[in-house]
């Protein structure tokens, strides 16, 4: 049902396989006992409930996890499974995504799998006498089976006791429910119409409606490792009780949690007077690398010029031979630091360097090291360094630093702030003179394992194929790149499903199963890309070939992004034709012209949003709204939703396309620089509406890391 959800693609050196095992051993050792969340906060502030959100046993509390914490909880009681992924979006706002079985909801003894989303916002912080207060929505926009809302107040009593009292609606208003106190605002609050549909509808008009009920809970941190909970639940499980899925006898629930370490918690529960359950929770924070931070070798120190300015001379590059020697010397020193020189032009007191960074996950490290190496190689008369990093031949930015500033600030306690203030960051559109550029044709290849998963098939929520992917890339000329990847499936069970697609739209995504069966091994992509800078602040891409695993054709994109602008605008037009299921060279009949106008905005503190408006693969027209939080170390957690002009009924289950995106930099685990990331898209369900072409190398993602505000955010790494 669901297409490729998590793809793992990465490469590394083949020359020394032992090294890989060594690094792996190091990484595994680090992952094991590492105190991922060293802050006391996690233990003191919130214990996660059975539902994987801060709370007691089943009832919520007003606590929040430390900012940016990611948590995963698996629980089971009396046959009710819940798998929850939670994220503390901001210090006050948290979200949780849950996959659960509604045991016996419709038919006794039959499971119904449901996906739901919770939000909680902490309105009031705890004071000396005042409790913390939070408001929450459970199962917003889902099928509505679990829909409930609550307001909860939580107060700590001493160091070890946390007590909550709350008012719930919906499912949380079923035990000893009473007339909705909000009815003072009108009788409409009295009635709640259970609206169970395709899912994906936000039944705002039902929120906080119908009967309300009180719930309460206490957590007692008996020891540093052990938390005991008791609660009075306001969910009476009447449907499940009627179907025999649970024998409801009492609203009192009891729980015990054992905190193995700051990362892992195990729990046991006795719920509703008859059921026992268990849970496991793992918490970690993108802000806190497992590895404790990446380790780089010592940078080349700034070579300070003699104090006698008259000895410096002018540019001092007088002949072509001089220029060539200098280029060779600079290329050699850069290569020692994992950087590739593409061009050097010296004009009087200004030296302009164009380079590529295949090594450091932080672009500012590459820029900072290049600047220091320039002090060691270039004649003393050169004062102004213009550094132009490229990505796939695109000159992304021009960072200008003065050599005297480097000499002055290398060891300054405020060197990071002062060097950023002294640097000029400008557009790098104008090309070097052709003689100064010597981009070597470059061939690279890799073999890497891959994982393709199919998630949330009710018959088997996790299916996966494992195999090997061979990829290769050849830079024909600056910006002109031929690249491809082929996959060979070794083993897996993605093709075992027998669920036929039931889409009424062109099957642009729902034929996953046919691709998994006939094209488990095949060509993932094979394209010729041309990247260019058509003008100031403009970037362009043209891609021809087999664009992605299901479509081939042509794609053209233009992006407008000034280096210091929070806003970027882009346009992309594609002609796409559906590929054969065997993922070889053939095409099917279906073709479409698809494309979008896009706006991207960086709100600051790592929060980004984008809006794409246009025509999707099935010919439907609409818009995609995406939000993401990017961390300085490369972690990215995001969500998106697409609504097009097809009805919820035409779309089918889920009503519209939405999902989560997750990107994890490998350096976060390894403790050494790496540009590799593990990324994935998790969709509750993949259908044909609102489906976008999955073309590689979209421009915004290539250049924004080299622009402000990302560059200023990363400047701490300049002196590394």
């Amino acid at each position: 049902m669901t297409k490729k959800a998590i793809a793992v693609r990465a490469r590394c050196s083949a020359k020394d396989p032992i090294r890989n095992w060594l690094v792996l051993a190091v990484a595994a050792g680090l992952i094991g006992p590492a105190p991922v969340l060293a802050q006391e906060g996690i233990n003191k502030s919130a214990t996660l409930s059975f539902s994987g959100t801060p709370g007691h046993v089943e009832m919520p509390s007003a606590r929040s996890l430390p900012d940016a914490t990611l948590g995963a909880t698996i629980s089971n009681f009396s046959g009710f499974h819940r798998t929850t992924l939670g994220f503390q979006i901001t210090p006050r706002l948290s979200v949780a995504f849950r996959y659960s079985n509604l045991k016996g909801y419709f038919k006794p003894g039959e499971d119904f799998f449901d996906r739901s989303v919770d939000l909680q916002y902490r309105l009031i912080d705890e004071g000396t006498w005042r409790p913390a207060v939070a408001v929450g929505l459970r199962d917003i926009g889902g099928t509505g089976f679990l829909a409930s809302e609550y307001v909860v107040a939580t107060k700590a009593f001493g160091d070890r006791v946390d007590a909550s009292l709350g008012l719930g609606w919906g499912r949380l208003g079923t035990n000893n429910g009473f007339r909705n106190p909000l009815s003072v605002f009108g009788d409409s609050f009295d009635n709640r119409v259970s609206d169970v549909g395709f899912g994906g509808n936000f039944s705002v008009d039902q929120w906080f409606r119908g009967d309300a009920a009180l719930f309460a809970g206490i957590n007692w941190r008996a020891t540093d490792k052990l938390t005991l909970s008791v609660e009075y639940s306001s969910d009476d499980y009447r449907v499940e009780d009627a179907s025999g899925a649970i024998d409801y006898r009492s609203p009192l629930n009891f729980g015990v949690q054992y905190h193995l370490n700051n990362t892992v918690t195990l729990g046991g529960y006795y719920a509703y007077g008859s059921a026992i359950g268990a849970s496991a929770t793992i918490l970690f924070n993108p802000k806190t690398p497992v590895s404790g931070g990446s380790i780089l070798g010592a940078p080349p120190p700034v070579l300070v010029r003699s104090a006698d300015v008259t000895s410096w001379g002018a540019g001092a590059v007088t002949s072509d031979a001089d220029a060539l020697n200098m280029r060779v010397a600079l290329a050699t020193e850069l290569a020692k630091n994992g950087l590739i020189l593409e061009g050097l032009a010296i004009d009087g007191q200004t030296a302009r360097v164009q380079l590529r960074n295949p090594t450091y996950d932080s672009e500012t490290t590459a820029i900072g090291r290049t600047a220091r190496i320039m002090t060691r190689v270039l004649p003393a008369g050169v004062e102004r360094f213009e550094i132009v990093p490229t990505v796939r031949g695109l000159r992304t930015t021009r960072v200008t630093v003065l050599r005297s500033d480097l000499e002055r600030l290398e060891n300054d306690p405020d060197g990071v702030r002062l060097s950023y203030a002294a640097a000029e960051i400008t557009d790098a559109a104008p090309a070097f003179s052709t003689t100064a550029i010597q981009v070597q044709p470059r061939f690279s290849w890799g073999i890497a394992p891959y994982v393709e998963t199919t998630l949330f098939d009710p018959d088997s929520p996790l299916r996966a194929d494992f195999g090997a992917e061979l990829s290769a890339s050849y830079d024909v000329a600056p910006g002109l790149i031929l690249s491809g990847a082929a996959q060979v499936k070794l083993f897996g069970n993605r093709s075992n499903s027998d669920r036929a697609p039931n889409s009424v739209l062109p099957r642009v995504r729902s034929d996953t199963l046919l691709y998994a069966r006939e094209g488990a091994s095949g060509i993932d992509y094979l394209t010729l890309d041309y990247f260019a800078r058509p003008g100031a602040n403009l970037y362009s891409r043209v891609t021809l070939g087999y664009l992605e695993s299901m479509f081939g054709g042509a794609s053209a994109e233009v992006l407008w992004k000034p280096v210091n602008s929070r806003l970027a605008l882009g346009v992309e037009v594609n002609y796409a034709r559906q590929r054969d299921f065997d993922r070889l060279f053939g095409f099917q009949d279906y073709d479409v012209v698809t494309g979008h106008a896009s706006a991207y905005y960086a709100f600051g503190n790592g929060f980004e949003g984008s809006l794409d408006v246009g025509r999707y693969l099935a010919g439907d027209v609409g818009a995609t709204l995406s939000v993401a939080r990017t961390f300085g170390n490369g972690w990215r957690v995001g969500a998106f939703a697409t609504k097009t002009n097809i009805s919820a009924a035409e779309f089918g289950e889920g009503s519209f396309d939405k999902g989560l995106t997750l990107s994890v930099p490998l350096s976060w685990f390894l403790g050494q620089p790496s540009q590799r990331t593990i990324s994935g898209v998790i969709r509750p369900i993949t259908r044909d509406g609102g489906a976008r072409l999955d073309v590689r190398n979209r421009l915004y993602g290539l250049v924004n890391e080299y622009h402000d505000p990302e560059l200023s955010d990363q400047w701490g790494q300049f002196w590394r």
């Binding site: 380790i295 290569a335 290398e410 306690p413 990829s471 994890v664 490998l666 390894l670 403790g671 701490g716």
Partner: protein
């Protein structure tokens, strides 16, 4: 569960091969990782295992040794660069220590490095061998690569005379302690200054919570 999954993904990723990541920097880094990760099973070579006085006596350039106390790892260092009062020392596997006079202001390649420090007046206070109070400002990078600062209040106190031996040579030294406090954080540095020559032959200086203290052995002092 999740860590197992990630470990699994990583295992897969690391089993990869190709041309893409073969670069000298990663080899350099590997050496440093090796230095840092060396397990406790076999004791690592100490200063006396790595060098003899005969070897040191033949060295004519500034020469030093650094030890990471918690890891029991030592390596010799040469001078990679000088910028005003700052000296950049580097080991053969590219770990680095930057010092202002005798005071560590930054470390490189040790993991939780000290990014920079304001140590104004401290070298002078140590040499004066008298009680004093000063302020020390450290800069670190957090898990997202952003700078944060910690300001320590430090007190300096003479701790008597001590005879120390560094790789076969004995020194009569005056010992100074530096006790620094910032909130719950607290560390103690020690400096062993040669009587008569005024050279700090040995010091034990705090780097960070992740690295702990390093031991700096001044084998061939910088002439000035």
């Amino acid at each position: 569960m999740r860590s197992t999954m990630f470990a699994g993904l990583m295992a897969l990723t690391l089993a990869a091969c190709g041309t893409e990541a073969s670069n000298p920097a990663s080899q350099v880094v590997r050496g440093v990782v090796g230095l840092i990760q060396s397990g406790p099973k076999a004791p690592l070579p100490g200063p006396d295992d790595l060098l003899t006085r005969d070897v040191i006596d033949q060295v004519t350039v500034p020469y030093a040794m650094v030890g990471i106390e918690r890891r029991g790892a030592y390596a010799s260092m040469t001078l990679a660069g000088q910028n005003g009062p700052f000296n950049s020392w580097v080991t053969s596997d590219s770990a680095g220590v930057i010092m202002r006079g005798d005071i560590v202001t930054a470390t490189k390649g040790l993991g939780a490095d000290l990014a920079a420090a304001d140590v104004t007046g401290i070298a002078e206070a140590v040499r004066a061998n008298r009680a004093a109070t000063l302020r020390r400002e450290h800069r670190y990078l957090d898990g997202e690569g952003r700078v944060f600062g910690v300001t320590y209040d430090c007190t300096y106190a003479p701790a008597g005379a001590e005879e120390i031996t560094i790789i076969g040579r004995t020194y009569d030294t005056d010992v100074m302690t530096e006790t620094c406090v910032a909130g719950d954080e607290r560390f103690e540095n020690r400096y062993w200054t040669g009587r008569g020559d005024g050279i700090v032959w040995q010091s034990r200086q705090w780097v960070s919570n992740g690295v702990g203290p390093i031991l700096f052995l001044n084998l061939v002092p910088i002439a000035n």
